[in-house]
Amino acid sequence: MTPDPNSLYGPLDPAPEAGWSQAPPRMGFFTDTSVCIGCKACEVACKEWNDVPTSGLDLLGMSYDNTGALTANSWRHVAFVEQPRPAGHRTPPFAGNPTDGSVSPASAAVAAGTGNPTGTDPGVPPGDPDAAARMAAGPEFLGMPGSQPPGRTGTADGRSDFRWLMMSDVCKHCTHAACLDVCPTGALFRTEFGTVVVQEDICNGCGYCIPACPYGVIDQRKGDGRAWKCTLCYDRIGAGKTPACAQACPTESIQYGPLEELRERAAARVATLHERGVPEARLYGHDPDDGVGGDGAFFLLLDEPEVYGLPPDPVVTTRDLPKMWKRAGLAALAMAAAAVAAFVGGSS
């Protein structure tokens, strides 16, 4: 069988491509951040089901986010972004109150300086204060807040607008997953559901997958050295159950189902929100024509992806592999054949 010309880039149904001839429909997550209440049930339900260890007991000061990022010890991560921006249809929360200017960018910048020893590598290293301030301020950000500590950066104008964005982030289960492409041991593999899973019995902790991920999701657990991330509850969905995070989610912010169906549902939700005066609603990771061939876990966002700490235009890092493949392919096949021959020969 010849690989699909799109097997490393472009639209594709990844499970059949990965040899699952009787593949069920591709399954995924649609995370609708417009109904997320930031309760973190997803983080806990994931840890409970998958026996994920704790990831540090530090107050990070990034609003209510004390997890910091997706790591080997946090497979769901709820981001909280406080922003001095209008929330579309809503009445400005602090209209008429005697406020000075916003402190959100300054607080976010301070928080960015705190790391979190998560017991993983690279874990949650201290961030970039400037980037954090930009996230909190939204697109109108005009530069780093001054050297004044938070609370002294206000303008006389006051701050009537405010919104609190929350988003439960997770591995994107890319159509073209560079982590999987670079994995030398076959530990990372494509399941029959089209999801991307690290097999803990195979992973040898080489760490090649870590720089390959365009979203910075993959991370290694210190001590055991292996890479760990969301499996989209491979064991649960194999048994016809819903992944732990989606089942727990109180407000259906995390929805699980056949990806095609989720994409339709997401498009309808965006249309509804637009009708209801939320023009900022947009999808992220839903497009099969994007740099990773579309995500198996995609999102409805209320701001630019960068605000949530997501790359605006992720591209599979192994995009150029096919060109190399043509040259290296024959050699690789020849080598593999030789190895088989040696094995058979050796045991006879």
């Binding site: 109904v35 209440i37 930031g38 309760c39 973190k40 049930a41 983080e43 806990v44 840890k47 409970e48 704790t54 990831s55 540090g56 007991l57 530090d58 107050l59 000061g61 609003s63 209510y64 004390n66 997890t67 406080e82 001095p84 249809h89 809503r90 009445t91 929360p93 602090f94 209209a95 008429g96 109150n97 005697p98 406020t99 000075d100 200017g101 916003s102 402190v103 959100s104 300054a106 607080s107 301070v110 928080a111 705190t114 500590p149 938070p150 609370g151 002294r152 950066t153 206000g154 701050r159 405010f162 919104r163 609190w164 929350m166 109180p250 407000t251 259906e252």
Partner: protein
Amino acid sequence: MAEAHPVGFQWVMEAKRRGAKVFHVDPRFTRTSALADTYLPIRAGTDIALLGGVVRYILENELDFREYVLAYTNAATIVSDQFVDTEDGDGIFSGFKPETGTYDQTSWQYAGQENGGGAEDTEEARETAAGLRHESHGSPIPGVVRRDETLQHPNCVYQILKRHYARYTPEMVERVCGIPQEKFLELARAWTENSGRERTGVLIYSVGWTQHSVGVQYIRTGAIIQSLLGNIGRPGGGVLALRGHASIQGSTDIPTLFNLLPGYLPMPHHATHPTFDAWASSIRHPGQKGYWGHARAYCASLLKAYWGDKATPENDFCYGYMPRLTGDHGTYQQVLNMIDGKVKGYFLLGQNPAVGSAHGRAQRLGMANLDWLVVRDLFMIESATFWKNAPEVATGEIVPEQCRTEVFFLPAASHVEKEGTFTQTQRLLQWREKAVEPPGDCRSELWFFYHLGRKLREKLAGSDKPRDRALLDLAWDYPTEGPLAEPSAEAVLREINGFEVATGRPLGGFTEARDDGSTAMGCWIYSGVYADGVNQAARRKPRHEQNWVAGEWGWAWPANRRTLYNRASADREGRPWSERKKYVWWDEEKGEWTGYDVPDFEKTKPPSYRPAPGTSGPEGIAGDDAFVMQGDGKAWLYAPTGVVDGPMPTHYEPAESPLRNPLYRQQANPTRKVYPHPVNSVNPSPPEEHSQVFPYVFTVSRLTEHHTAGGMSRTVPPLAELQPEMFVEVSPELAAEAGLTHLGWAHLVSGRAVIEAKVLVTDRLTPLRVEDRIIHQVWLPYHFGFEGLVTGDSANDLFGITLDPNVLIQESKVGTCDVRPGRRPTGAALRELVEDYRRRAGITPERHAPVVTPADGEGAR
């Protein structure tokens, strides 16, 4: 709601999806505010001013649901002309007795009933938290009332209410609450627009509302609005309490409270309930209308359940065994008595007052002065280790080698290691199956108390002391099962449900209770939960297999009704108000009430039924009296009795406030329960001097990631890591004023304590403009303590002890403090700092804030 009840919040999101508009009122912008359409920041402790503003808006613009109001409320009832309102009494109603700080309710009565026996002695009512009794049934009123259906009579409730709230204008709301007028009007408009035959609105509060010196009146104000707008007893309406513990509703229904017996029957009082007859009659109110007639049967059946064969009509069912109240024996009085050495032993059963109760230092000092303490919990909580790890050990106030309290820590069984029922916030009982046996020495409370009782009875066997008869004659034979000899929870539930003594047949409901000793019934309002010998609370018919009311999931008291007073979902004639809001209605053909829920009305009493004059008991309730548990069958906009601090809610400032009451000379609730004990103190409020020593308002509440005093969350790794440290949220404006930096330290000082916390400077907090002043509020989570995986100072340490007069619940949602940058002192220097503040504020053990604000006080209007 999204913060503390996230799964319940799914239904708010569901409503939003269908177009509902959500308003959120809170001192700070929370995860609920983030999803609301409109957020209103409010000064903590001013909710009656806001809600009173809404009442005024409704009445001034005649936006009440008039058909509903006339049919189902007491709006038309004429009140005694002796009644004097707070508007004419400068914040005090008629009947006030300054020497006791309580009211004589005679002048509050309906016209012609001033001496009809409805008025309560509110002093005894306050000391015994009598307000709690009305959870299952309203107050009685005698005889027939006079009404003016045109609502024009100057003394009709409608007009009295209108005058009472006339000054609660949008301008006043802004002045008191700090809510800009436009915002207030947006709320008032939306609320009133969602009223009438086709529409409803719902009011949801979390029980922080109860933790105020005017807590009951907060809820009363909400109930008045919902009654005026026709939002009670109807789908999509109601006043919904979000209670915070798995079975806290059950803990009042089958109370472990000093003043109540199961089913809200009062604990006997030494003076007013000398005999069984006096006790039963005080509940039954002979000759009055409504569902009181059977009270004697509930009383007799309870005692029959307690003392079994020994309880007979001849010996008044062993009523003589009952211990008697003489006044306030509530948890705060107890703690002060512990400090004074009056209490020998203390049981803590899954409760952590060292962190969870107001004035943590008093709690810990009290525990350090006992003969013995029994702590039963899952984890080693602060209340078990106070003798070695409390902050008072660091300050030298508790010295382990000198602390005599003997402590027994007995590990408890978890919710999966025992079976039994929880009653959740909608009065729904749900049975839990046991999954595994408890490990090691862990045992259920059922096991502990059953076997403790067994041992006590063994030790007393043969005693001839009269005082021991009550224990020896107790019906205490529960079957045990399994390797640990666990008593059968189902057998206990069966006793709660009630049974026919002669045959053991489980009763089908409380109407089967008898006062002749032929029935035993442990809790009359729960009767029916074991009807037909079936554990109805264990029913789990999947939601997809029944209607949306889901009446076959668990069992709700009373009689499995899911919405109380649902007769009001139909109009006077028994027809649904609209197709859209159809719920329960009169089926003319069958001659009975029917609908999606169990009708909260006598099944075959037609809407046209009118009682003959002078009829008492349930027969006195007319076919259109929807509020069947009220003496007059009406929802009370004005409460002639039953509420000890006034027939209508009135804005008073919290016991600690930086501001003078803008509405009345009377500063704070004149009937609030105060404890002039040396360990207790109240920070000064205007018109007293030195209120500026504590210039900031602080409020506390929960985080989604933690539970109450932290015993079930700071000990659980996946929760502990999500909120790992104590912190205080401050606005950028206060941060600038007080010199606080994000993620730096701050300490907060009150007249009781100083605590420290990491600082979160956030836009979610805002200063408020109140009376031309800027008021800064800070917010703290109250989950932290000194044990567990994550630790921190306890916010509740900052509070003093002042209670609501109706239910004796403490004001622990608002207080005043100072906020300073940096960490707090340690050791003896810590108490010195507090003492310094106390000196500056003029707080001495002898000084007590005046309960009644003096006439010539500063700022009198």
